[in-house]
Amino acid sequence: MDRMDDKLDSLWAEYRQACPDPEPSANFTPRVWQRIEARRRATSSLRHWVEACVMAALTLTLLIATFLIPRYQRQPVYQSTYADVLAEADSPDYTLVLTGGDIR
């Protein structure tokens, strides 16, 4: 086992020598920058798209707030107040009906 251990160690060392650091090609650095730029462009177009969506959503919200909500708010559910309803209910005509017209 120890012998195999030693052989493996020497194999690693030989491998290290057999694979020296390669010289980068002339295109290496320009290609890195091209990829950086391509990612930057993709991120930027995605950001523009997101910004456009946000703007559209904001515009829609503003339109709804300006035109649609006030239109529904102008149609009141009750035409008169609670006090008006009570006063109307307490009118002499109404009392006449309740007492069968016999008022003394």
Partner: protein
């Protein structure tokens, strides 16, 4: 060990890393120029496919560019760069393994080139010896997991210390020793069966 000394030598000033981190493209270019050869060497030994080394190397520097702002301090730059390198190599090796599983009969471009060259008698004796060693180690490493392969390469071939590996793997020394021991045992077993 020469490779261990090589691994710890910081190639650039921290101030340059700081400038690159704050978005200075010129500073980043200098970092790229300083580290590209070392990183390509590490990738070449990790993946064993010369034709794909530059592509993986470009991916490492692309990831570095877009993650540099997350670097806490320039002092941990090298372990950070090694981690990016290891991750890119992992991704590549996993992709290759999947591809290899689906096409068992394929030969790498390197192997084809080597076979062509040796058939034409173009290789010198020394080149042939180097090719044989590279193939032997790659075939040995193909028999273990990607994780074992990368860990052993970093320790045994790149000569990184346990302290450096701790920073890359973010695990403590004892856990690393156990992982290394097991990985080595598995490779030894494969080596014995090959011998």
């Amino acid at each position: 060990m020469e490779s261990a000394e090589r691994a710890v030598a910081v190639l650039i000033e921290f101030e340059l890393i700081e400038r690159a981190r704050s978005g200075d493209d010129n500073a980043f270019n200098q970092v790229l120029q300083a580290y590209r050869k070392r990183i390509l060497g590490t990738i070449a030994r990790l993946i064993g496919k010369p034709e794909d080394v530059e592509d993986v190397g470009q991916e490492v520097f692309l990831r570095l560019y877009y993650s540099l702002d997350q670097l806490r301090t320039p002092e941990v730059f090298e372990p950070w760069l090694y981690r990016l390198t290891v991750n890119a190599a992992y991704d590549y090796l996993r992709r290759q393994r999947r591809r290899h599983e689906s096409r068992m009969s394929d030969l790498s471009e390197q192997q084809v080139m080597m076979a062509d060259a040796s058939a034409g008698g173009k290789q010198s004796k020394e080149d042939a010896r180097r090719t044989r060693i590279r193939e032997q180690v790659q075939s040995l490493l193909d028999k273990v997991s990607t994780e074992d392969r990368v860990l052993l390469m970093l320790k045994e071939v790149e000569g990184l210390s346990l302290k450096e590996l701790e920073k890359i793997y973010k695990v403590n020394e004892n856990a690393l020793k156990v992982r290394l021991f097991r990985a080595r045992q598995r490779v030894l077993k494969a080596y014995e069966s090959e011998a």
